[in-house]
Symmetry: C2
Subunit: 444 residues, 2 copies
């Protein structure tokens, strides 16, 4: 493997906790973040929870010299909160909105209004095409009884699909953001195994940060300590992932995270810790690399596919739990709606029958009559909208489950005898029809 060139790129990721009014010291923190980014001049800056476009525009103005290229990904009611700044030219962007993202009536959680998504930018880094992804998945509010788990698993499923299908032509792939999943959580395994993306924290040669790479820590004055129980030291839910290609080898030389406080500042940048990874790119001649690796890795591929089958099966089970739950909720909505309708009919009958049969005397006070009718209409309208919403949720869950079933079938067929990789033309694309397992072949 001939290293003809070596280039270093620095990637930064931070969940900015940018809810105007509600987030503490929001304005001051954006000023601090802007100053730091301006000074540090990372190649790629991936931000999440930049909920206000004004804050994005503030940063854009502040970083106009250090990071002349940027993208703000708009989605949902208040935006996806995703922003990307780059020292290098952005040639194209694309946004994929996750099909499931919580419930609109859970307004205090607010995720639904954020329109969670994954944003992609095609960036030209010194002659190489980098596909850079920034994402933010649905939050986990209660680990023991996580009613959003099926949604987050479907988000992770869609995320891996999107990354896998849109990164085929890339020389290098970088994904950063707040996944709201621990390193060993189902969604993280799904994403990493399917895409072949490598974790900066795991791969780095030098690490300077909190123990275990945690990014939501008790030492941060902005974090809610209760939410971290039982993980007293903190949890790792923010990531910078990467992979190379047949043209480029990618290594993580060092990784740094903040530790809950910033020197010379009264408070940190956010309630999450900031991540910085230094990646080293080694370009090499395209022809000579892959063949050796192909034969080296052939033996381990079967094990990888088998592991992937297990992970997808686990994800499918989780989606089925979600399906069951959504069906139950839709049934409850339907039943309540029918009860509302029955009540309305009963009321109308009581009001109408004496008038028809016995005379004009009203059987119960007009006030109660109108209040009850208004209540019935409110029930009917609410349950109708809930029915619509749950039906859409069901469709998305069913769609994901169908895709997972197909994926498991395809993987199992590969296990049964299809060759897992083919020497010819395996550099840019999956071998014939095996794109479902393309990522289980090591990309570098």
């Amino acid at each position: 493997m001939a290293n003809t060139d070596s280039v270093r790129i620095r990637v930064f990721s931070l969940n900015c906790w940018g809810i105007r009014v509600l987030s503490k010291q929001c304005g001051q923190r954006y000023t601090m973040i802007g100053d730091m980014l301006c000074k540090e001049e990372h190649d790629i800056v991936l931000l999440q929870e930049v909920w206000s476009e004004k804050d994005f525009l503030f940063l854009k103005k502040k970083l106009s010299c250090s990071h002349p290229h940027s993208s703000y990904f708009k989605s949902g009611v208040i935006g996806s909160g995703l922003a990307l700044f780059s020292k290098h030219r952005i040639h194209d962007t694309f946004l994929y909105r996750f099909s499931l993202n919580g419930y609109p009536y859970m307004a205090h959680h607010g995720d639904w209004f954020g329109g969670k998504a994954v944003g992609m930018a095609v960036v030209n880094i010194r002659g190489l095409t980098a596909h850079v992804y920034v994402t933010h998945l649905h939050a986990e509010y209660c680990r023991e009884k996580d009613s959003y788990l099926p949604h987050r698993v479907v988000q992770a499923w869609e995320l891996q699909k999107f990354v896998r299908h849109t990164s085929v032509g890339a020389d290098l792939v970088i994904l950063g953001g707040d996944l709201n999943m621990h390193p060993q959580d189902l969604g993280t395994r799904l994403l990493r195994s399917y895409t072949g993306l490598r974790d900066s924290y795991v791969e780095t040669e030098k690490f300077d940060g909190c123990e275990g790479g945690v990014t939501l820590i008790a030492d941060n004055p902005f974090t809610n300590k209760k939410e971290l129980i039982p993980f007293e030291t903190g949890i790792r839910i923010d990531y910078i992932l990467f992979k190379g290609s047949s043209k480029v080898d990618l290594h993580c030389d060092s990784m740094v995270t903040t530790k809950g406080s910033i020197p010379d500042h009264p408070f940190p940048y956010s309630d999450h810790e900031a991540l910085t990874s230094e990646l080293r790119l080694e370009q090499h001649a395209a022809q000579e690399t892959r063949k050796d690796q192909h034969y080296d890795d052939k033996d381990t591929n079967a094990a990888r596919v088998a592991e992937l089958v297990d992970i997808v099966t686990e994800a499918r089970t989780e989606v089925k739990v979600g399906l069951h739950c959504a069906e139950r909720m839709r049934f409850t909505a339907t039943r309540t709606g029918i009860m509302g309708l029955a009540l309305l009919i009963l009321e109308l009958a009581i009001a109408a029958v004496p008038w028809l049969a016995l005379g004009a005397e009203q059987p119960f006070p007009l006030t109660s009559f109108y209040l009850l009718a208004a209540l019935c209409f409110a029930i009917l309208l609410t349950t109708f909208m809930l029915y619509i919403f749950y039906t859409m949720e069901l469709k998305s869950l069913q769609g994901a489950e169908d895709q997972m079933r197909l994926a498991v079938g395809s993987l199992q067929e590969n296990l049964r005898g299809f060759p897992l990789a083919q020497p010819q033309d395996s550099q840019r694309k999956p071998p014939e029809g095996l794109s479902a397992v393309s990522a289980v072949e090591p990309e570098e």
Copy 2:
């Protein structure tokens, strides 16, 4: 160019008009469609408006021998209506839901409930990886005053983005469906120019069908003749598009459409005509092809990019019209909501003030009081939901406009001096950072 192999694949596309109860002879038509597909044994069958999953399952059972592989794409409230049947193994599927798709309160049009999308399947056709797309865009109900035009343009924009970014690794690309756009409409030009997809009807050597390739014709007993005015002979809105790759040349040898009636049957398959394209694949050695073409096409590339700049600029203008319209609608909703709130406050004041100041006597009848209060609440709830909906619409339109602005900038920069194609490594991926114009390089 050495043709080492020649393979023929037949692709079928039909908008099935499958609204149970509402569509005429729905059941009989599905039986006819199933019989025909079973007999014809097309390689790829792309169906739209298969609204009921039961009908999909009916076809799936009927086609279990001829087309053992299938995918039904679930989305929205009643599904995307998209179905795909294949003689060849499907290894992976993916669905992209368009961010804009009409309005939920336009229930009589129903598009919003359908969750319009583009479905993708990775199909292995005789050792080649085919990326097959099936799609259905928002209907056009009034060409003169088409309030859905900005939505359809954004759908076409997202469609080209999705196809372009997910088809990099494909040996051949096939897209079929009901685009609800005429051949020279903005969205069709956007899709074709950006992706490099070629139109079967334009490219075919032999054509047997209605004049002009029209697929919605007055001769069809199911079509609404009034909707076709002023296009008396009919309109062409259903397409089969295709493109090859550096590995495969693709030609359309023949194309056939139905002509409003089916021999030996009392009525046609649908209100749309069915399309069948026969594509001929010529595989060749990967190395020798692209270089010649590169130099041949260099001169025409600038003209193509300039054309693309014009098309994207036109699309951007249309999206701006949509933005203006959505802003106006949101303003109207806000104003109505404020009026509802003012009315409620006024009513409460009238009701409360005499009670507080003058005694317990009610200033207006209780019945009117409650009816008015219910009306105010209904206004507040409705306008609140409309506000949420229009804000989401605005976010999507703004996002598309941002992407278009970036695209125009990127294209113009290319025009100003960047090389449009590079000889090395141009076979599988766009040249460095030029993925925005990758499609303007001819793919074959």
